[in-house]
Symmetry: C2
Subunit: 298 residues, 2 copies
């Protein structure tokens, strides 16, 4: 009999719910706008109940959520969204709420860790044990799998907030991060591009200087992540990466920045296969949530 799983990509603007068993086996999917926890979670629970009535029981539910989220199984707030500034959502107990309502095992991860696991199981990181998934959109987030398991540590990584060199003689823009000004997120998210150039990123042609500068900042970040995490591959997703001129420029600049120091053939000889687009395309997030559920031991 076919084993079905539930997946929930819990984002700041929408919740995406799915039931299925993999990238070619999504049997039902729904988008729910993120409003209040009661309304949004209520609709998500209703979706899963309807689908279970139609398709049969799901074995587990995987949730990849916006953060910060408590991933420490020994903590009293395990599986909760914690200190988010998003109104009404602080201390929302995703894990317990869904578990109580659906009576299935629920596994909660950051959205980016879930996407990374999805890419590892079905996408661009198959067969690897240590790799990085980065999304560059309205925010910048990184999910790392190390020795086959997602990296949590103290809380979970906040890769968007690393400090990178910012030459104000070239780019006097102050940055948009409310916490750090010109950290990576401050300089290189979609909203940062829009504010700096006073135009929506989608309206800027591929040869606009905006993209060269964007590639420079992302390459600085990637060279730092390569030196820190030593990933076997780096996957770049998110809305900003839909600009096709960006990925080739990033690859070239990462090689330039590392300058032969990391003596690894994937970087020196095959950068096009080292820094790649998501194998699951824009579905890394929701399929990552399904992957979370399907990776849960019986």
């Amino acid at each position: 009999m076919r084993r079905l799983f539930g997946g929930l990509e819990a984002g700041g603007t929408k919740f995406v719910c799915a039931v299925g068993d993999g990238p070619h086996g999504v049997l039902a999917q729904e988008r729910i706008p993120t409003t209040t926890p009661a309304e949004t979670i209520g609709q998500a629970i209703a979706f899963f109940r309807e689908q279970e009535a139609a398709l049969g029981r799901v074995h587990a539910l995987g949730i990849g959520t916006f953060g910060p989220v408590d991933l420490d199984s020994r903590s009293s707030s395990f599986g909760r969204i914690t200190s988010t500034p998003k109104p009404g959502w602080a201390n929302t107990d995703l894990r317990r709420t869904f578990q109580d309502a659906l009576q299935v095992p629920v596994v909660v991860e950051t959205d980016v860790n879930a996407a990374a696991l999805g890419e590892g199981l079905w996408g661009a990181a198959q067969g690897l044990d240590t790799f990085l998934y980065l999304t560059i959109g309205t925010g910048i987030g990184g999910g790392a799998v190390v020795n086959g398991n997602p990296l949590h540590g103290l809380v979970h990584p906040e890769m968007g907030h690393i400090r990178i060199p910012h030459d104000r003689t070239v780019d006097p823009f102050e940055g948009v991060c409310p916490f750090h000004g010109d950290c990576l997120e401050g300089l290189a998210t979609g909203p940062a591009i829009e504010r700096r150039w006073q135009a929506p990123p989608r309206s800027l042609p591929g040869d606009h200087p905006a993209w060269r500068l964007e590639a420079h900042y992302l390459a600085l970040a990637l060279s730092t992540f390569v030196c820190t995490l030593s990933p076997q591959r780096v996957i770049l997703g998110g809305g900003v990466m839909t600009q096709p001129s960006l990925l080739p420029m990033i690859r070239t600049k990462v090689v330039d920045l590392l300058h032969g120091y990391v003596q690894a053939p994937p970087i020196l000889e095959a950068i096009d296969e080292y820094i790649v687009s998501p194998g699951l395309g824009p579905r890394s997030g929701i399929l990552g949530a399904l992957a979370l559920a399907s990776l849960l031991p019986d």
Copy 2:
């Protein structure tokens, strides 16, 4: 019966060899200058043979070595130092040479991963599963333990070579890294301090501006490592850290730089216990090598 282990801290200037079973049980230790592989390794093998004759067999040998080193057990050069510029040492097969000579299991790690494991087993990171050991001396290196295991990935981290903000109006120094100029190593190693201030670091008093600048650079790096690896604790060792004014300044600056973004009590409320000196003092390296051997499964 007491189980003894061998440890070898293989450094660019000296090899430290030890036999024992922990920080309070080092029964023999010797320093051998690093000259040629044949001479230095020959003397190290002689040391272990003599000690085994006197003290009994060691169960395993742990080697924490300078790099780059191949840590991939599926690779044909597994356990070798690879592309080091150190004359004569490229392609030295540490693992096999010691294994063949001593007929014991040999486990090879980077020097900093070994030190991290030693701190985890016996030092300042006991009971933690994800943490960072950083040494700041003639070079800068980082060893990370993630979910209880050392981080290798593609090669192994090269944390000294991340790029950090460098304001040339404050510090016009170009940096000393032959690969990257003003990467972290370029700006913040002992030799960088010496070149910038034209004086040996040890001669600079604790209130010299050199130390405030050094704390600034190290805090930039630490804030990046915290955002990327989310360690439960950060341990700072190495010769540069022997300047007592440095650690308190680094702690203050890391909290300032993170600016409340990482909502974790260890950072917000207990930074003195979050960024710490090695529990094993200057012996993290050699005891880390012993730890490597003692952690090997039977």
